[in-house]
């Protein structure tokens, strides 16, 4: 017995499927997700890979995905749409009536990369843990089935290893390791189990336990050979647990201004990020009706914190950039124990100003090291008053 990712005790459950039977896997996942489920998979259009709803699963060819490092835009929006109605209203006071939208159709997300699958775990932490869970996200997430495909190739933009992950990190409900003409499957959650059981009822399929282990090792080794990017050699999991003194030292680093200078405050980094989840609520009245919508937002955008009356605690772009990087690499970890960056690399690849999270991570690692050294030598961190021994 072992323990699944969702905590359920289980027997290891694997399968070896011919790669031309991907359609059958998709159908099994759709059956588990529910009768009105929508299948999403990467499709190449105009030189870019994009997530699209797929109506004919049998046309999917996983061999074409070998050319894809990842989709241009993350699959986040499938479960956390860029624009989502919270409620609508009709009539004017005192005769207003509210109406809530129907729950979303369940989604099967097939072919997502480990960095993007792990990103949903980070969103679960940010949006579901605690007293007031984000019910709209919970509804979409609880019904979704995630079928992850391990990476056979990487690009210099890939940074999963710096984020403590790998091209084969067990993530999602079911992990698929492509191996030549085979798809080696391993169930990771109760939902993944259900998909494998459903598939076995349709297709005779041998177990693949030792093949899975061997292929995982192969792919992990191959991943190290990609052209190194800025994050090469970095290990962000070495950032220390966020004790207040270290956090304040990182916050007070002089380098933020310099780092932020080229930033255009365009928000692209947040919108392509699979874990960024800040949102805005906006009323859209039209005559006597209207709706309140929830839309993606970013802590890096101008006026994000500006209150009615004008008070804005972060008027400078360096302050906003600092917030975004510290939230990803430090604050989320303090609250949930994990980095809120999975190293997908989209922010760095897409930034029109050439900004890179690895540059910020390097500064943070250096600041943390300085605090540790100061502690050893008995000095207070710069800018912090020494504790009164009384």
């Amino acid at each position: 017995m072992t323990t699944a990712r969702d905590g359920s005790p289980r027997r290891r459950h694997t399968g070896n499927l011919s790669s031309d039977r991907l359609g059958a896997l998709a159908r099994a996942a759709l059956a588990v997700a529910g009768p009105d489920a929508v299948l999403w998979a990467p499709r190449q259009a105009a030189q870019r890979w994009a997530w699209e709803p797929i109506t004919s699963p049998d046309d999917l060819d996983p061999r074409t995905w070998r050319r894809m490092v990842n989709t241009r835009i993350s699959p986040k929006g499938i479960l956390l749409p860029q624009t989502q109605e919270v409620f609508s209203w009709q009539g004017r006071t005192p005769k207003i009536a509210l109406d809530v939208p129907p729950p979303p159709q369940p989604a099967v997300i097939l072919g997502l990369r480990p960095c993007d699958a792990v990103a949903f775990d980070r969103l679960d932490e940010a949006l579901l843990v605690g007293e007031w869970p984000d019910v709209a996200y919970a509804r979409a997430r609880s019904r979704a089935v995630l079928v992850t495909f391990a990476c056979e190739s990487m690009s210099p933009e890939c940074m999963c290893e710096a984020a403590g992950l790998s091209p084969t990190t067990p993530s999602g409900d079911l992990l698929v390791l492509p191996a030549g003409e085979s798809l080696l499957l391993e169930a990771l959650t109760a939902k993944g189990e259900a998909v494998l059981a459903e598939l076995e009822g349709r297709e005779p399929m041998p177990e693949a336990g030792s093949l899975v282990d061997a292929r995982r090792e192969e792919l992990a080794g191959a991943a190290g050979h990609h052209a190194p990017g800025l994050a090469a050699g970095q290990d962000w999991t070495r950032l220390p647990p966020a004790d207040p003194e270290t956090v304040l030292a990182m916050f007070g680093m002089p380098g933020w201004e310099e780092l932020a200078r080229p930033c255009l405050s365009c928000g692209l980094c947040a919108f392509v990020c699979p874990t960024c989840h800040c949102f805005a609520l906006t009323d859209e009245p039209r005559g006597d009706t209207g709706r309140r919508v929830r839309t993606w937002d970013s802590c890096g955008l101008t006026d994000f914190m500006r209150a009615a009356g004008g008070h804005d605690p972060r008027p400078a772009k360096a302050q906003r950039m600092r917030q975004r990087f510290l939230h990803k690499l430090v604050y989320h970890r303090a609250a949930h124990g994990s980095l809120m960056c999975t190293g997908c690399g989209r922010c760095a690849a897409g930034c029109p100003a050439g900004l890179h999270i690895a540059t910020a991570a390097k500064m943070l690692l250096a600041a943390a090291e300085q605090v540790a050294q100061d502690a050893l030598s008995g000095c207070a961190a710069p800018g912090r008053p020494q504790e009164d021994p009384q």
């Binding site: 605690g130 509804r139 609880s142 937002d297 914190m305």
Partner: protein, 283 residues
């Protein structure tokens, strides 16, 4: 970690308000820019002093507002609202019988257990008195439980003071309760103090060994009042602040009020100065 198997998928979306009805509107100030709205005949939810709720003129947005009423008395919820932005201006257009969107209660509220037996100085600047009013009345309704109460209230001018009946008649008549009022600028007929609230507190508060202070107001007032209280010898853990910050979801999800690993709407809005000292200074 994964929490997908225990999702509250059947529960209602906390971002969807319920509709509540305005029972009464009270003009607080001469300018008319500050009004108190009494919502419903009873509160739709239990709450503690210092907690907030989202109040919405449907179609004009939502604002996080502290409850100005106390749960120790029955009746509807009271919110004192200054017309500053789109939603608060739209709220000011509404009167008795009109509907508003309401959701809450949000935030931690004041640490009532830690206030028991203590001498409390309430320091409220302008509209910041609203959350403190809930606490003052809560304490007065269980008067034996608390020590000496001193209310320091400040406003820009005499005409901008909120809760004038309570400040001049009700609270001064309560046992072991003192009210100290100051305005930034006097006007003919004003015989009270003229001067900034933090200076007024610094000149008049003689902290007892059991002293705590509870402060609310605009960010700059909070900063100077905190400095004054520290100089008077109050310990950082005995200075309790309730913060004003832009908030949208109220439930610690939208990211707007995130400071360090805290969300002011959910983990606050009440923090001690000691707690804030462990967070990045971004208020």
């Amino acid at each position: 970690m994964s929490c997908r198997d225990s999702l509250p998928v059947s529960s209602a979306d906390p971002l969807v308000p319920t509709l509540a009805v305005i029972e009464q509107v009270i003009a607080e100030t001469d300018s008319g820019l500050i009004r108190t709205f009494v919502i419903g005949e009873e509160s739709p939810f239990p709450y503690r002093p210092g907690q907030c709720a989202m109040l919405s003129a449907i179609g004009a947005g939502e604002s996080m507002i502290a409850m100005a009423s106390t749960p120790s008395r029955g009746g509807g919820l009271e919110f004192t609202v200054k017309a500053v932005g789109g939603n608060t201006h739209a709220l000011h257009q509404l009167g008795p019988g009109d509907q508003v969107g309401l959701r809450g209660p949000y935030g931690n509220g004041f640490p009532l257990e830690r206030l028991a037996g203590r001498d409390i100085a309430f320091v409220g600047g302008g509209i910041g008195m609203s959350g403190l009013r809930s606490l003052v009345n809560y304490c007065l309704d269980d008067r034996e439980r608390y020590g000496r109460l001193t209310v320091y209230s400040g406003a820009r001018s005499p005409g901008e003071l909120c809760y004038r009946t309570e400040l001049t008649e009700v609270w001064p008549a309560a046992p072991r309760t003192e009210v100290m009022v100051t305005v930034d600028q006097g006007q003919p007929g004003w015989s009270g103090n003229v001067g900034l609230l933090p200076d007024y507190v610094a000149a008049n508060l003689e902290p007892s060994p059991d002293q705590v202070a509870v402060v609310c107001g605009p960010p700059v007032m909070i900063r100077y009042a905190t400095e004054a209280l520290l100089r008077l010898g109050l310990r950082p853990e005995d200075i309790i602040l309730t913060l004003e910050l832009k908030m949208q979801c109220g439930i610690g999800r939208c990211g707007r009020c995130n400071i360090g690993d805290k969300y002011v709407c959910r983990d606050g809005p009440v923090f001690t100065v000691a707690e804030l000292g462990r967070l990045p200074e971004e208020l």
